[in-house]
């Protein structure tokens, strides 16, 4: 299979038109049916595949950094007949299970990032639905702050997956329906079994959309609303966006390298060794002017983007890899200094968005179906933001030796929350709240014994034990059932409270992935298999 790249830029968009009018960003979904990511299907009726969503993810990412001046985002359709007919069914029907799962996960992350960015940047996102808006199309709408539906007797919102395809409605759409929009659950039940969905009045009454307007008044009402949004958000005009350049990737002898990290793939051992190299902070930009001038070459931003790109590559292009080993190289002084630059300029839109992106990338790691071990060894620098990445791992092994230390910072105290909105320290120490509290404000350097006592590392091992035990732990890990591990990790990583976002991924992993492999969806007589074919599905009626 060809390697999938997640990098794209506006000059290469095939499926979206992006235009800006004052402080309003307009993105039109206008999918080119003849350019699917893989061959074998056409992207008809504004349906989408991973390629379409990679462009959307890029748009959202660029909104975060390149357009701090905007006050609202309008998502609309460039297709004459439909708004969006959702994920392409023929693509789903012909894809492998893992492809479908990664597709659903990625599209949800894109929608979560859209929500996250809009909230963080205080930008109002509005989905202007003209034409039928089905399945994943409605999910995109659900990810926006407001849904406007044209009342023309034809346009409707729907989640038709159950009646038409025999799969879970939406990849997260159900959770957004009842947890975000708080549609009554019995009404949601009716809505999700009705293939054609609801039009104007009923959609509004049931809370499926926020505004309904006839064609003759739709644009005018929307413009008035956008003007109001703009006047409520003054003072952004002077902001200058940061252009995101491409990420340079090289790969030689199994090592994938970008400017801030390398990944050494060992397919025969089914491992990937990540090494983050923290540069010296001497000469780092320290003033806001310098930080903005550095733009996308500013190390924290570069690192976050490159780590994310490496994680996506791991997910989609390296299916056999079961365990990632994370190491850092550098000094705790440097990482502390880099973190301090960010902490010192909080409130600046650019710095804030870097921190949000960093948070988003660590969350992405936790949602990756791969085991992660952090290895704290000589020469490592797991402090602050780097320690936070280690805390996201399934295990942390720390060498108990002079000079090997970790260090907490304000970065570990709420600035980089988990998907569930709590800190990783609180998640680890759910049953030891006193201990969790005692870590707050303790920013001293900790050797292995102290770190272990504080609950920060899984095991502190002396030189001999480390050499004995870590390689064995690695070998053992990669010998276990990958499916079991995926399920086990997803269950253990998110201890503590749930929120909408964590439920989206939790429900999605548990249910969609189960339904996808059931005969009623993907067996020879399954509804997804037969969709668009002349035969009709035959269900096995047992409730499992």
């Amino acid at each position: 299979m060809d390697t999938i790249s997640f990098q794209v830029d506006p000059t290469r968009y095939r499926h979206w038109n992006v235009s800006k009018d004052g402080s309003v960003m307009q993105i039109h979904m206008n999918v080119d049916p003849e350019f699917p990511l893989k061959s074998g299907y056409d992207l008809k009726l504004n349906s989408y595949d991973l390629g379409v969503d990679i462009e959307l993810a890029d748009i959202v990412r660029r909104l975060r950094f390149e357009h701090p001046e905007i006050t609202s985002l309008v998502v609309s359709s460039g297709h004459e007949q439909v708004f969006c007919s959702g994920a392409n069914i023929h693509m789903l029907g012909t894809s492998s299970h893992s492809w479908k799962v990664n597709f659903c996960k990625f599209t949800n992350e894109t929608r979560c990032e859209l929500e996250d960015w809009a909230a963080q940047a205080d930008v109002r996102s509005i989905c202007a639905v003209t034409g039928p808006c089905a399945g994943g199309g409605y999910e995109l709408a659900l990810a926006c702050d407001e849904i406007w539906l044209i009342d023309d007797g034809n346009s409707a919102v729907s989640l038709p997956e159950t009646p038409l395809l025999g799969v879970l409605p939406g990849t997260g759409g159900l959770t957004r329906l009842v947890d975000k929009r708080m549609v009554r659950r019995d009404r949601a039940d009716v809505f999700c079994t009705l293939a054609e969905g609801f039009k104007g009045k009923r959609a509004l009454e049931w809370g499926l959309v926020d505004v309904v307007a006839p064609r003759s008044k739709f644009d005018e009402q929307l413009q008035q609303h956008l003007a109001q949004i703009e006047s409520d958000r003054p003072g952004r005009n002077d902001r200058q966006g940061i252009t995101l350049g491409p990420i340079e990737v090289t790969e030689a002898d199994g090592v994938r390298k970008t400017s801030t990290l390398s990944v050494d793939y060992k397919p025969e051992q089914r491992t990937a060794e990540f090494t983050f190299v923290i540069p010296s902070a001497a000469g780092a930009p320290t003033t806001l002017e310098e930080i903005h001038a550095a733009g996308d070459s500013f190390w924290p931003l570069r690192f976050a983007r490159e780590l994310e790109d490496a994680l996506l590559d791991l997910r989609v292009n390296r299916n056999g890899i079961g365990l990632a080993l994370l190491r850092t190289q550098g000094s705790l002084d440097d990482i502390q200094a880099w973190d301090q630059i960010l902490l010192g300029h909080r409130g600046d839109w650019f710095v804030d968005q870097i921190v949000h992106l960093f948070s988003h990338v660590i969350q992405r790691l936790e949602r990756t179906s791969c085991s992660f071990f952090a290895l704290v060894e000589q020469g490592s620098c797991f402090g602050g933001s780097m320690l936070e990445i280690a805390l996201a791992c399934d295990r942390i092994y720390m060498l108990d030796e002079d000079g090997v230390e970790v260090q907490r910072s304000p970065m570990n105290e709420g600035l980089l929350p988990m998907t569930t909105d709590i800190t990783r320290t609180d998640c680890r120490l759910l049953g030891e709240q006193e201990l969790a509290k005692s870590t707050i404000g303790n920013h001293s350097r900790l050797d292995a014994t102290s770190a272990e006592k504080m609950g920060l590392v899984t095991e502190a091992l002396d030189e001999f034990d480390y050499e004995d035990m870590v390689p064995v732990a690695i070998q053992e890990r990669v010998s276990l059932s990958p499916d079991s591990l995926t399920g086990m990790e997803a269950n253990l990583r998110f201890a503590g409270p749930e929120n909408m976002e964590s439920k989206v991924f939790g429900r999605l992993s548990a249910w969609q992935n189960w339904i996808f492999i059931r005969p009623n969806a993907t067996g020879p007589q399954g509804a997804l298999t037969l969709y668009g074919r002349p035969e009709r599905p035959e269900f096995a009626w047992d409730r499992v």
Binding site: D152, L194, R533
Partner: protein, 470 residues
């Protein structure tokens, strides 16, 4: 069940008197319908006596009862073809099983969609033709227009009956929506495009009744095969009335063609100078309405259509007599498609191409009428032939909609298409001219100059008969 109640408010053979719930729903709907009819029905003729045919029973002959009626007093009723002895589903995955008397739950959504889409066309055409009475070329034609209008109104009743009887609250909501949409309205347009196109002169009217109502014939005929028996019987009865609409369209165009040929010969090729319609303009009208009507058959490759067939909801034209294999699980059909910028023949599962199967039948039927018109032209000696454009030309739905084709069906450039559009399709100058020559003719037996008289009158009456009392 098939006893006709002629005395109730609503004539019917569905035992309305014995179904209080249905009766209440229809009686609630009746004033709303009358309000719509008065607002959107033929403008200016509601108080006149019209020589109309009214269905009073479903037996042979009984549905054609002629008398003077004021249109608002027309007896809109509900008639289903009597139950015949064939009670098994004639096609699809349920082939051979008993037909459904009630809606099967799993197909409720699809049936509702089919019925609402069909129902929406009925009031739409009345709205489109609203002002044509004021420029009618004769009392004979005016009467035919009104006959069509009241029958389209009755067809709406037939469909609304199904919505009320089988779809509960949803059906009642849909029935009200049917009266609130308006042809060509920016905010509340009719569902299908052809029913939002302006039809503001009689050349378009005859094209509409010939081409667009002919789509209706094929849709109704394929629904008359439905495994949902009440729908099948309703549509079967509607077909008997639809035949007259097609007759009006086909003979209307034939009369215009005949007169245009005469005037072309008399004026040395300039019929416009004598208030006649040039034959190339007629060709443009044919191109325009034929292609818009082709859109009504739906996508060339359609999983919905495959489902409707597989589920036993919508069959093919004359399913029982014309086809041997009624299941068609495995067949294929060749459908030319544009792939990589060229037209190539592609194999499509037969069921998914079933809209195309129906479109084939329709095109054949249109060709038959075309041959008649060309015989009229041949007799005239004018030396011109009319033609049907390719099914790929000027499409707004389906796999050809996004590509520029010429009337012969060849892929061309967008520029060529734009440069020739006014030559190929009825244009605004044509429409202006057509409206300008159409003045109301009300003297019994007289015809406007641009149209030949019909060969005979209605119901054995002479042409001079006063079909409309003004």
């Amino acid at each position: 069940m098939s006893t006709v109640d002629r005395n109730g408010k609503i004539p019917n053979n569905v035992d309305l008197a014995g179904d209080k719930r249905l009766q209440r729903a229809l009686e609630h709907w009746l004033p709303l319908y009358m309000e719509w009819w008065n607002d959107m029905g033929p403008a200016g003729f509601q108080t006149n006596d019209i020589y109309l045919r009214t269905a009073v029973s479903v037996e042979a002959g009984g549905w054609a009862n002629f008398d003077y009626v004021k249109m608002p007093d027309y007896r809109w009723g509900i008639f289903l073809t009597p139950n015949d002895s064939v009670n098994s589903i004639g096609f699809g995955d349920h082939y051979g099983k008993p037909t459904w008397q009630e809606i099967p739950g799993e197909y409720r959504g699809n049936l509702r969609r089919i019925i609402v889409t069909q129902a929406d066309t009925e009031p739409a055409s009345v709205e489109q033709q609203r002002f044509l009475g004021t420029i009618a070329p004769s009392l004979y034609d005016m009467r035919n227009l009104f006959q069509i209008n009241v029958e389209e109104g009755r067809h709406l009743w037939a469909m609304v009956y199904l919505l009320f009887r089988f779809f509960g609250k949803d059906g009642r909501d849909e029935a009200e929506e049917l009266l609130s949409r308006r042809s060509g309205d920016e905010d509340k347009p009719r569902i299908l495009n052809a029913f939002n196109e302006a039809c503001d002169h009689w050349l378009s009217f005859f094209c509409f009744t010939h081409f667009t109502d002919r789509d209706g014939k094929f849709q109704l005929a394929s629904l008359a095969e439905s495994g949902f028996e009440p729908l099948a019987r309703t549509c079967d009865f509607m077909l008997t009335e639809e035949a007259h609409h097609l007759f009006v369209g086909e003979t209307g165009l034939d009369r215009i063609i005949k007169r245009s040929a005469e005037l072309t010969m008399e004026t040395d090729g300039d019929p416009m100078s004598a208030g006649g319609i040039p034959l190339d303009m007629i060709q443009r009208a044919i191109n325009y309405w034929f292609t818009y009507s082709l859109d009504l058959f739906g996508g060339e490759i359609s999983s919905n259509a495959a489902n409707f067939f597989g589920e036993g909801l919508k069959g093919r034209f004359k399913e029982k007599s014309r086809y041997e294999d009624h299941v068609m699980k495995t067949g294929i059909k060749i459908v030319p498609q544009v792939i990589g910028g060229v037209l190539v023949e592609d194999e499509v599962p037969y069921r998914n191409a079933i809209n195309e199967v129906l479109r084939d039948e329709y095109i054949e039927d249109c060709k038959r009428a075309l041959r008649k018109w060309n015989r009229t032209l041949e007799k005239s000696g004018v030396g011109v032939e009319l033609s049907l454009p390719s099914r790929r030309f000027h499409r707004h739905q389906g796999i050809y909609a996004d590509y520029p084709f010429d009337p012969e069906g060849n892929l061309i450039t967008k520029e060529t298409l734009e440069a020739n559009t006014s030559r190929w399709l009825l244009n605004s100058a044509d429409n202006d001219f057509l409206v300008s020559i159409m003045n109301q003719v009300i003297e019994p037996g007289k015809m406007a100059n641009w149209i030949a008289p019909p060969s005979r009158g209605i119901n054995g009456q002479p042409l001079e008969f006063e079909y409309v009392r003004l």
